[in-house]
């Protein structure tokens, strides 16, 4: 087992004041189980404090640190150096921001703009079933919950939306569809008509080309394509 790796990171920079982009190369040594967020921090501390990148929880639960590494969208916080070397077969990595929203600086994109698509599908219960406010929980059997619980694990990291071969302009994107499907499968939601209208709208599920890239790249290993397929085959129309 190799202890240290000599890495070359080619990182896409963007300066908003000058509206200028360029590739910048950083060479550094990193231990085998450092994560890419640790590597970015090392660059900030030791080489270049101006490199801007985003993260929050750094344990793959918030989806803030999504970047493209050698073309693949992933969470920088869970990519270990030794795994990256094994996965990509190289110690040279090209790192770019995910192209799902306008750039702010370097690797940071305006996630709030990307989120607008998720918010447009109303990620909450629009019209709750009747026993609300009677001081009781709804009874949902594990069998019913199991049908859609995987989809509730989505963290909106937008890796799927990045990998998706459909246009971002016309398609809500896999994660927004997932948020919509969760509430269609949730027995507590009564506003099914409104939800179906959204799901099958101009920007809805028929924009999907079934490449299944979403399932392939999902860091949470959610089979996103499965839920989109359910929508396409009309599973939710009663």
């Amino acid at each position: 087992m190799q202890e240290m790796y000599d890495l070359t990171l080619r990182i896409k920079r963007y300066n908003p004041e000058e509206k200028r982009s360029w590739m910048q190369e950083y060479r550094l040594q990193a231990g085998r189980i450092l994560r890419f967020t640790d590597v970015f921090r090392k660059i900030n501390n030791e080489i270049d404090p101006t490199l801007a990148w985003n993260s929050s929880c750094e344990h793959a639960q918030c989806g803030t640190c999504s970047v493209l590494v050698n073309g693949k969208p992933l969470l920088a916080c869970e990519l270990l150096v030794e795994n990256a070397v094994a996965q990509f077969g190289t110690t040279t990595f090209t790192i770019k921001p995910i192209p799902i929203a306008p750039l702010v600086r370097d690797l940071i994109v305006d996630l709030e703009k990307a989120y607008a698509r998720v918010e447009s599908v109303k990620p909450y219960i629009i019209a709750p079933a009747e026993n609300r406010n009677q001081g009781k929980e709804y009874q949902i059997t594990p069998q019913v919950l199991d049908e859609y619980v995987e989809a509730t694990r989505c963290i909106n990291c937008f890796c799927c939306a990045t990998a998706c071969i459909s246009s971002h302009k016309n398609f809500l994107g896999p994660n927004a569809i997932l948020a919509s499907v969760v509430r269609l499968m949730d027995p507590r939601e009564q506003a099914r008509e409104e939800r179906l209208k959204l799901l099958y709208s101009e920007r809805g599920v028929y924009r999907c080309h079934t490449s299944k890239a979403c399932s392939f790249v999902c860091p949470k290993e959610i089979d996103v394509a499965h839920f989109i397929a359910l929508a396409k085959e009309g599973k939710f129309k009663r």
Binding site: A52, S56, C62, Y124
Partner: protein, 598 residues
């Protein structure tokens, strides 16, 4: 660049929520429920509210189900009181415990995907320190959403806030609270993406800004938890209560410090040392691996100090093991899939087959901005600042005293958020305040100082040195000499910050500038933690003094610390509310100054 250091625009709202995590969003949802159409503006330091640190909470949410034939609220109150090492305020304990189940139903009815039993009812599990019949047996008291309960809460509350019509200022931070005639009227907000300062004037300002974990080298906390809120308060002349009450989670994953939830132990995980001995039986004969966090943390540190730890070659940090190899596959796959995956992902270890390396990791700040039972910020005991609230981890009401029980933090977030929302609504009718004179001056003086400073000091190096000092000398074990050394080192580091050059002078998404501002906050927070720890010459809960290993009566009050100038700390006291004890009702004797043994 100096011309941009000004208030670019002013926004008006009814309720300004600073920090859009579990507590802040629950407060916002309560405001909308009571006053539909209210203008609520929420500021978050992260890229989007769904990225808040609450989302990483794994284990569960403690609440006594009134239908439970065995469990009772009084047991939950007792566990919280005992766990707090007799430093929780009993009026708060009672209020939160009594409101708990209603909050579970509130969340469930609004779409939280809580885990279910075979009959479709909410599943419950047991957690360290939670018992029935005053310590007799483990209580099944925590409802949960698999091992992502915090995410379930955030998703639900974000949805409710959206439905209510909330306006978010994302990737933004509060740099200064605004006051007019003794009343809080809003805050100066810096919008990082736009590089713009905004004044927000509000009838009620609610701080829900999370924790301060970045003060330490190994922490479970997110990157943004730099204790900014404590400095907002200190700079406004307000106190921080019990800063020395810091919790170290016993089972952080070696290296990044990522939390391996207590769930691992509650489903049967066993802690082992170098010799593979299950050592917890020597420290807590009854509760063993399920003993409260501070006891387990000290047990692990003791094992390591006495040479029974294991050195990790990559991170050069000693650790012990947690063993989950004996658990059946369905436990791994169904009950702990996300926690187990952390070991696979972050240290390349398969917990089904291998021992997992863990060590104590900074986890939670019990101390915070002092409030009353409605989350109203207090300047001194009983002295409320009108218009200003603090809820969640950034506040201290205090529900946790000197040690927080697992699953009690999520409960505190949502209940205190709700209580603050109830009170904030009452202020909406009041007339709007004018912008106070001099708004932003302190902020601009600081920022122009950051941008204008020149020298060879390294921001990253100062921050790392501070984290190392705090971890080594103000961590799980503390002693007077070490604390004094830490305090003088912090002064030295503070001096050095004057020599940090910020290479990029832009205000727009200038990460280096943000980190410089955070460093100011981290050093100030470190200083009040270290001073508070030195001042408290006794041991209780998360605060352990090797030179004063017992609890002492003269320290039975909360510590209040004030610091308007770096390093000059003034102390005050706030008595602990003992209303459950004083009421002399059934079992009142359980709420006296009881021993904390498990």
């Amino acid at each position: 660049m100096k011309e941009k250091l000004r208030i670019g625009s002013t926004q008006y709202c009814d309720v300004l929520v600073i920090g859009a995590g579990g507590a802040g969003l629950r407060c916002a949802a309560e405001v909308f429920q009571r006053k539909p159409g209210a203008r609520v503006l929420a500021v978050t330091k992260v890229a989007h509210p769904q990225k808040s640190h609450t989302t990483t909470a794994q284990g569960g949410l403690a609440a006594v189900d009134p239908k439970d034939p065995i469990d009772k609220p009084i047991y939950h109150m007792f566990d919280t009181w005992k766990g707090s090492d007799c430093m929780a305020d009993q009026n708060i304990v009672r209020k939160i415990v009594d409101a708990a189940w209603e909050e579970i139903i509130w969340l469930e009815n609004r779409g939280m995907h809580l885990s279910r039993d075979i009959d479709g009812k909410l599943s419950k599990r047991t957690f360290g320190g939670h018992t029935v019949n005053f310590g007799e047996a483990s209580a099944f008291r925590a409802v949960y959403e698999a091992d992502r309960t915090g995410k379930g809460i955030i998703d639900t509350l974000w949805g409710e806030a959206l439905r209510g019509g909330i306006v978010f200022l994302n990737q933004s931070m509060a740099t200064e609270l605004l006051f007019s005639k003794g009343r809080c009227v809003g805050a100066v907000i810096f919008r990082q993406k736009e590089g713009e300062f905004v004044a927000v004037l509000a009838k009620a300002t609610v701080l829900g800004m999370g924790g301060s974990g970045q003060v330490f080298r190994v922490t479970t906390n997110c990157r943004q938890n730099t204790g900014d809120y404590l400095v907002l308060a200190l700079e406004a002349g307000l106190p921080v209560m019990d800063p020395e009450a810091v919790q170290f989670h016993p089972t952080g994953i070696v290296g990044p410090g990522i939390l391996a939830s207590e769930t691992l132990r509650s489903v049967g995980g066993i802690l082992r040392n170098k010799d593979l001995e299950a050592f917890m039986v020597r420290y807590a004969p009854k509760m063993k691996d399920l003993a409260p966090r501070d006891l387990v943390s000290r047990a692990i540190e003791t094992e390591i100090r006495e040479g029974r730890g294991i050195m990790n070659p990559d991170h050069k940090i000693e650790h012990v093991w947690i063993d989950v190899r004996h658990l059946p596959d369905h436990v791994h796959d169904v009950q702990i899939p996300e926690v187990a995956s952390f070991f696979r992902k972050f240290v390349n270890i398969d917990p089904k087959k291998e021992l997992c390396p863990i060590r104590p990791s900074n986890h939670y700040h019990m101390g915070g901005i002092p409030t009353d039972e409605f989350g109203r910020v207090e300047k001194g005991p009983g002295e409320v600042i009108p218009g200003l609230f603090a809820v969640g981890e950034c506040a201290a009401a205090s529900f946790h005293g000197f040690n927080r029980l697992g699953t009690n933090s999520l409960l505190e977030l949502i209940t205190m958020g709700k209580f603050a929302g109830e009170k904030a609504v009452e202020l909406i009718g009041e007339k709007s305040e004018e912008m106070p004179a001099g708004a932003g001056e302190r902020t601009f003086a600081q920022f122009s100082g950051f941008l204008g400073a020149a020298g060879k000091a390294s921001l990253g190096e100062i921050r790392q040195t501070m984290q190392a000092v705090m971890t080594e000398k103000v961590g799980v074990f503390r002693v007077a000499k070490g604390l004094q050394e830490a305090i003088s080192k912090l002064r030295e580091l503070q001096e050095k910050t004057g020599e940090i050059t910020i290479s990029g002078k832009s205000l727009t998404m200038n990460q280096e500038l943000i980190q410089r501002w955070e460093l100011k906050n981290l050093l100030a927070v470190s200083m009040v933690i270290a001073q508070g720890a030195l001042n408290r010459r006794d041991s209780r809960g998360g605060h352990f003094r090797e030179d004063y290993p017992e609890r002492h009566e003269e320290f039975n009050d909360h510590t209040l610390t004030y610091m308007t100038e770096f390093g000059k700390v003034n102390f005050g006291k706030r008595p602990v509310d003992m209303s459950l004890f004083e009421a002399k009702g059934a079992n009142y004797e359980k709420f006296g100054m009881i021993e904390r043994k498990y």
